[in-house]
């Protein structure tokens, strides 16, 4: 039995299916990210867990207790919004004290807890300020302190960093990891930013069109995606069609062999092959490597690396990321030899 179990949850609004038979088991203390493009159902699931959406079918079980029909105020889950949603008329300390006053804690205990929470997020010196006198990052820290103050066992976060600029977002990511580590609370985190998901999570559930496409650790989803959607959504990727005959593949190059753990099942012979831009190198193939020829159509400088836009003899486009020292004028329009390790190539069966 899992800690938080989402069992075959379906949610329809009129004609629109926001969640389509979604099941997910969350372990206690886990940092799990719901990742997907906008409108893929990730926020709908989070709000169903928070209690603001009534699912059409399926159930949510928390710690062995059925909570599907429970009001949000009775669930005891922390919730953090993209727009912070602080109480504008209350000071920072009173915002954090709010859930404790609702629970009728005694005054001394509230004061101690508020001080402890503000210390945790490093805002003790701003306790008397009003929310609108704080920066975005500070407001989000207050929101975190408030949502964690009453000791929830689950913290739900709805794109909490997307209103912040990039530098601040990175600082806050570290802050979130630290809070997760120090409090031991289970984090359910919604984002559309794949980099954020890779950085933060123990596990990622990738959403598309109201379904969970795949759910696994960041490393496994990145290195061995089982579906084209995940291979495309997480990190940059190239796709070419490949066919297998007598154990040897034709597609990127010809006649290469893939490691058995990455290869297709015996009974299939066609698949989509993927290869990340960083795994393509310039120059002829060595022993056991995959070699192919491609025309360099464009070179795009991107700081530490350059993106080469290539075209294979089959007409398929490909992007390679190589060291930036390369001279664009010298290679643009030329046909060059490239190579890649067989271990870097992934296989996605037709239709997945």
């Amino acid at each position: 039995m899992g800690f938080l179990v989402i069992d075959q949850l379906t949610m329809t609004y009129g004609q629109v299916t926001a969640l389509d038979d979604v099941s997910l088991t969350v372990k206690e203390g886990e940092f799990i990210t719901l990742l997907g493009p906008s409108g893929s159902g990730k926020t709908t699931l989070l709000m169903s867990i928070a209690g603001f959406n009534r699912p059409t079918a399926g159930e949510i079980v928390f710690d062995g207790r059925q909570i599907t029909g429970l009001e949000p105020e009775d669930r005891d889950f922390g919730l953090v919004f993209q727009g912070y949603a602080l109480f504008p008329h209350l000071s920072v300390a009173d915002n954090v004290a709010f859930p404790l006053r609702v629970r009728k804690w005694d005054k001394a205990r509230i004061r101690a807890r508020v001080a402890e929470m503000l210390d945790l997020v490093g805002l003790a010196h701003l306790a008397g300020r009003k929310p609108r006198q704080l920066s975005g990052g500070q407001q989000q820290r207050v929101a975190l302190a408030r949502a964690l103050a009453f000791g929830p066992r689950v913290l739900l976060l709805d794109e909490p960093l997307s209103a912040l600029d990039r530098m601040l977002r990175e600082t806050m990511q570290q802050e979130l990891r630290r809070l997760h580590r120090e409090t031991g609370v289970t984090f359910l985190y919604v984002t559309h930013d794949q980099q954020e998901a890779l950085t933060l999570s123990d596990r990622i559930a990738v959403f598309n069109k109201g379904r969970i496409v795949e759910c696994d650790t960041a490393q496994r989803l990145f290195r061995a995606p089982k579906t084209r959607f995940v291979a495309e959504f997480l990190g940059e990727n190239n796709f070419v069609t490949g066919t297998r005959q007598g154990g040897r593949w034709t597609g990127l190059g010809t006649g290469f062999v893939l490691p058995p753990d990455r290869d297709l099942p015996e009974d299939r012979s066609a698949a989509t092959l993927w290869l990340r831009p960083g795994d393509i190198a310039l120059g002829p193939a060595g022993a056991g490597e995959i070699g192919f020829q491609a025309v360099v159509e464009d070179v795009i400088f991107a700081g530490t690396s350059s993106g080469l836009h290539l075209r294979l003899p089959t007409g398929e486009p490909l992007v390679a990321s190589v060291a930036a020292e390369i001279s664009a004028a010298e290679i643009t329009g030329k046909t060059l030899a490239f190579h890649a390790r067989p271990g870097a190539v992934g296989v996605i069966p037709e239709g997945a």
Partner: protein, 266 residues
Amino acid sequence: MSRRFRTRLLTALVWACLLFLVLPVLVVIPVSLTDKTYLSLPSDGLSLQHYRGLAAPETGWSAAMGKSLLLAVCAALISTALAASFAIGAWVRAGWWPSTIRVLMLAPMIVPPIIYAVGMVRVLSAMKLIDSFPGVLAVHVVLGLPMALLAVVASLSNFDNRVVMAARSLGAGPFTIFGKVILPNILPGLSAAAFLAFITSWDEITVTLFITARRFATLPRRIYTSIADSIDPALAAIATLLLLATTAVLAARLFLAGRPDDPAAR
């Protein structure tokens, strides 16, 4: 024409416009101090006799003022309470029906008062409430409702309803949310609503004229009657008092609640 001359001309024009707005209002002050028994500027000396007349119970002015005050306060409270409960409910649960009902509630502002008055005469006489406090109160509540509603809706529209979701997720029930979260944030809107509803009732004359007679005469009604049968300088005295009261309220608001730019003041 030199630039300086043009600026001066413009300044003079602006002052002339302002004086045109204010002077006719200010003229009631000398008139209220006249020593004659008809509306005129004081010629032989100043007198406070008309102010004394206002206070004298037999003239009925203070009674009318008291009735109007009570009526306006009650109407303002009821209108604001109704408008606030509707607006908050509609804000929490958006949908097609709140917008439909809102149009209905704004109707008293759109329907010409004279038409409404004719309708209310029939309704109130059927209910035997004509020329009575409850009857007039009901009408004034309805007339004040659109004003109050607009003020409350405006203050709610600036309030992020995710704040309410946050409060619920923190364990707050409906009553706590209303009292501790929504109310403190729309208080300025509520006081504006009550103020507008109060003013609406305080100087309502069109409908009041139809549904009152001698028993429940409000101040505007009493003024109207008094102008119709005599030209009593007591009118000027009343106008002066109202002017002073309004100026005092505005000044107080300017000094106490003012400085909206100062973040610490809010």
